[in-house]
Subunit: 356 residues, 2 copies
């Protein structure tokens, strides 16, 4: 059993590997040879008045890779009001101001646990790789300029993902915090070796972009439908950041996954999240998400993609899948083993001589 840190995952796993693994994986998923379990979340009061405890699990099995994966998040969540609206914020409440998210990998052949690692780095990679994969099949092949809304943890992944699938020469990023925006531009330019400009407004970031990537934690729309120009490819990570009319301005709309089972259980008193969830549900309904073709349909040619350089394409990456952790886990395990990364734990600690 391999124990990996976030640093280990970062060292072992590239965005290119993840996109290639997903490119294969979504075909297996679309043919029902791979599967995700139900995404289950429990929300419960904790000692904080302004927060809830959230216990989230998701799982997936990729038989071709021989991997089953479970992801667990154990979080303190808050919904502070900011000048940009209400945000959902995870509080690093574990000792040492740390977050708690874990991925466990298992063997489909023997059941044995193969690896355990924090989900931080791989979470960013799987979200980014999914948007990268969608852009690979939807964006104009000559796309060169990216408008990136958001400059947080996920935004960095999005920048790397689009640069991996298109000949990007410039990224124009925007955040309401100018200092943060400048810093992100510098870091990203250094990391990817391309021109990154801190734009003065969201509109300025989007203007003349071939690809627009929304990667904010905003609970208010950040992208106006008026800014959409012919030929653009747009992607979004959070329902609330997108003005639903962007979809009506799009020629092709692809959702990450058409039907994904998810259930939230709430204990008495756990009502803080209700408002934002109602708004998300209303948006999903407005977007008719359950009827849209999804990424697997696109890869398996069950739905058409971009028809011309003038089509506007939109990718909605809203519901994560446990299956993504099985697919990325498989390639991570391969790379870590090849390069001797990680710490070995005694497998017997995590297996049992008696059945259950």
């Amino acid at each position: 059993m391999l124990l990996l840190s976030n640093q280990d995952v970062e060292a072992a796993l590239t965005i290119e590997d993840c996109i290639a693994a997903m490119d294969d994986g979504y075909r297996e998923l679309g043919q029902s040879r791979g599967a995700s379990g139900v995404r289950s979340e429990i929300l419960s009061p904790t000692t904080r008045d302004d927060g809830l405890y959230s216990l989230l699990t998701m799982s997936g099995v990729a038989p071709k890779s021989g991997i089953g994966a479970v992801r667990i998040n154990s979080d303190i969540l808050t919904w502070p009001r900011t000048s940009q609206g209400i945000k959902r914020v995870k509080v690093p409440a574990a000792p040492g101001a740390r977050y708690v998210g874990l991925v466990l990998l298992f063997s489909v052949e023997t059941g044995e646990p193969l690896a355990i690692y924090p989900d931080g780095v791989v979470q960013r990679l799987r979200v980014a790789a999914t948007c990268g994969l969608a852009a690979k099949y939807l964006a104009r092949t000559d796309a060169r300029v990216v408008g990136l809304l958001g400059t947080g943890w996920q935004a960095g992944g999005q920048a790397a993902a689009i640069a991996a699938v298109r000949p990007i020469t410039q990224i124009r990023c925007y955040s309401p915090d100018p200092a943060r925006c400048q810093a992100f531009a510098r870091e990203t330019a250094d990391r990817l070796g391309i021109d990154v400009i801190a734009a003065g407004s969201a509109r300025e970031a989007v203007a003349r972009a071939d690809v627009v990537m929304c990667a904010t934690s905003s609970m208010q729309p950040v992208l106006s439908a008026d800014w959409i120009a012919p030929g653009m490819h747009v992607s979004s990570l959070k329902r609330l950041e997108l003005d639903a009319s962007v979809a009506t301005k799009s020629d092709i709309v692809i959702t990450h996954v058409r039907k994904a089972a998810a259930q939230i259980a709430r204990t008495a008193g756990a009502d803080l999240a209700r408002d934002t969830e109602h708004r998300k549900d209303a948006l999903s309904k407005a977007l008719k998400q359950d009827e849209l073709p999804d990424l697997a349909d696109l890869l398996l040619n069950r739905t058409g993609g971009r028809r011309s350089n003038n089509d506007v394409t939109l990718f909605l990456n809203y519901m994560g899948l446990g299956y993504q952790f099985a697919v990325t886990g498989h390639v991570l395990l391969q790379r870590a083993r090849e390069r001797g990364i990680g710490r070995q734990l005694d497998s017997d600690w995590f297996t049992s001589e008696v059945p259950s």
Copy 2:
């Protein structure tokens, strides 16, 4: 973060502690102050022709105890035909012929991981404690003789549980394997210090019993409705082991949990389990399980229990809950800490400096 083995769990946790914790816990659950997540199972082909890979997760939060729990089972399952019918059998396919089931505990206050341990011993205890708790409130207070059908791993737990809540003087056990039955009788008599007799037939084990506990892995009925006598308390762990007409012969029928969310996802080719699942569903329907009062109703006096020494009472313990792992996990953690049991792992291995 505490790492416990099955031996550690066995040393730290008693059936009495578990029943007491559950007695408290089901009240919290019934008042919606505690919650379980969805039970999610993925069934997928593996390299064995006669088996499937199963990845099962369940979760629960007990706010009063401050514990969130996730249980994971990663199993190779087979459905061999035996002389007693088709059985569902877990294969110990992990290295060293071991099984893979894990419980992880988290803090509701900080999110941090608190413990990880195999689920074998605690699984038996939580099932046994639930039946013990039901018997505490349903069986005749003067119950002395137990008919125990099944002599496997769960049957041992059932024997201990009933002995913890009633002045039991004799257990009459039955298994179709006489040698196994004799051995179980000896072991159980030694362990509990009461008279345990290996009966020659199921009917003989049940005759003159005050409490009848079914704890088999049979996929055919093992208890006939004709054998039910006035005053008996009956419990069952598996839908298929019970003739549904036992319910019609019962005055009071209590189900473990009226509505529990569960979902099975199957990948292409994963059909081996379908038959037995259809039969289980049909039985649940015949028993009208969704309309029955449940254990929390009984404890909270929302439904009536036994009215006289002649009532036949029946407890159906068919659907496990993640919540049970939170409640038993809480008392296990207390006892292990009090007694210095287990191995400390570095918490930082399982937490993260970045959000996800």
